[in-house]
Symmetry: C2
Subunit: 200 residues, 2 copies
DNA sequence: GGCTAAAAGCAAATAATTTGCGTTAGCAAC
DNA sequence: GTTGCTAACGCAAATTATTTGCTTTTAGCC
């Protein structure tokens, strides 16, 4: 039901989709989420409500669709020199984005819908970013956790906290990463880097 | 807005709440979730819709409320002899319940609402159960992870997978638990138990 | 037993959603 | 280009859900 890939790529359909997405983003920025309705969105996007109902089904699916597209990363993880630090910096930014009011709401909107396509897409984005960092580590021969380990022991705890209780601090994230790093990370040299970064 | 604690414990209010909860549970069991509406619930509960609107606000909050109450555990974790095995058995059951269609839907309903009270309650239930197991381990002098470690490295990865992609297998859970156990778990004696359990 | 206020019922008013049908506009074949 | 085809859109009527003002019930308290 959610807006799938290019039914008629260059045409009116695409323009409508863009206008609706745009309208939703603007409205979410300007008003209470509870006050956002399909008729209002339709009005702002210069579209009839029935178009939105037919294409997205209901408000939840539309919001999930918009949120998923907003969570698509636009850049690769920053390159700091060591994959370890890339990971630390990336994870902090990830947690920051996701635990902000807007970020939490986007995740909720994505998870609320029974169709898991958007949730999978979102998790896919995360994995894509992490893969880049893992690949860098490999290139440089740095000892590094696998993608699965990162998802299970860094991303998952962060996401759980965001969803169920509190926002994860940078110290907390740092602890997760230290723990998942290969034992080499306990060597004095790396410990020093660790101290540096956690002090930022 | 969600039904808080005892405004007038013994009276009509409580009866209405019970009737509405009951109606929701029955309807969720008998029909498509998308077809459940407040007017229908009201009818089945012999209550006017405006009562539900005033008390819960909207369908999402009502469903979140009902789901949270359904997730409250009724029994303590089973006692198998070792805290380690208690944990394994409990985590498997937890993952099973949560990854079933109904379980996933309940979690989604709880997370969908912006008020995090229900989500916290739900996470609280989990921690309560785990605390029982941790306490048993302590009593018996068994080496055991902390509650925080269990939440971060066992519960969180399970929940992430349920929410974002696939259902966690028992083998996967077993792997998580092995990994979080103190190094003692690598001793031959425990390794043997491990093999037994994973074979179940 | 009577008072009080919170919660429920009722019904009218408003708003959202669905639906049938006519219209528009990409796309392709010619 | 022009034409034909069809997916997607617009429009408006019908349906359904939600809100709201007012009345009635009833639990808790003296």
């Amino acid at each position: 039901m959610a807006s799938k890939e290019n039914p008629r790529p260059g045409g009116r359909s695409a323009r409508v989709q863009a206008a609706v997405h745009q309208a939703v983003r603007e409205m979410l920025a300007r008003m209470e989420r509870a006050d956002v309705t399909i008729p209002l969105i339709a009005q702002r996007a210069n579209v009839t409500p029935s178009t939105i109902y037919r294409r997205w089904g209901d408000l939840q699916e539309l919001l999930a669709d918009v949120s998923a597209s907003r969570l698509q990363p636009e850049t690769e993880p920053l390159k700091t020199g060591s994959a370890w630090m890339d990971l630390q910096a990336w994870a902090e930014q990830y947690a920051d984005e996701m635990s902000s009011g807007a970020g939490r709401q986007m995740i909720r909107d994505i998870l609320a819908v029974s169709d898991t396509a958007n949730a999978e897409k979102c998790s896919g984005y995360t994995q894509q970013q992490l893969r880049v960092i893992v690949a860098r580590a490999e290139e440089q021969g740095e000892a590094f956790p696998t993608l699965t380990e990162l998802m299970d022991f860094v991303i998952s705890p962060i996401m759980y906290r965001i969803l169920f209780d509190q926002v994860p601090s940078n110290d907390y994230i740092h602890g997760l990463i230290s723990r998942v790093m290969p034992k080499v990370a306990a060597s004095p040299e790396i410990a020093e880097i660790t101290a540096d970064v956690s002090g930022v």
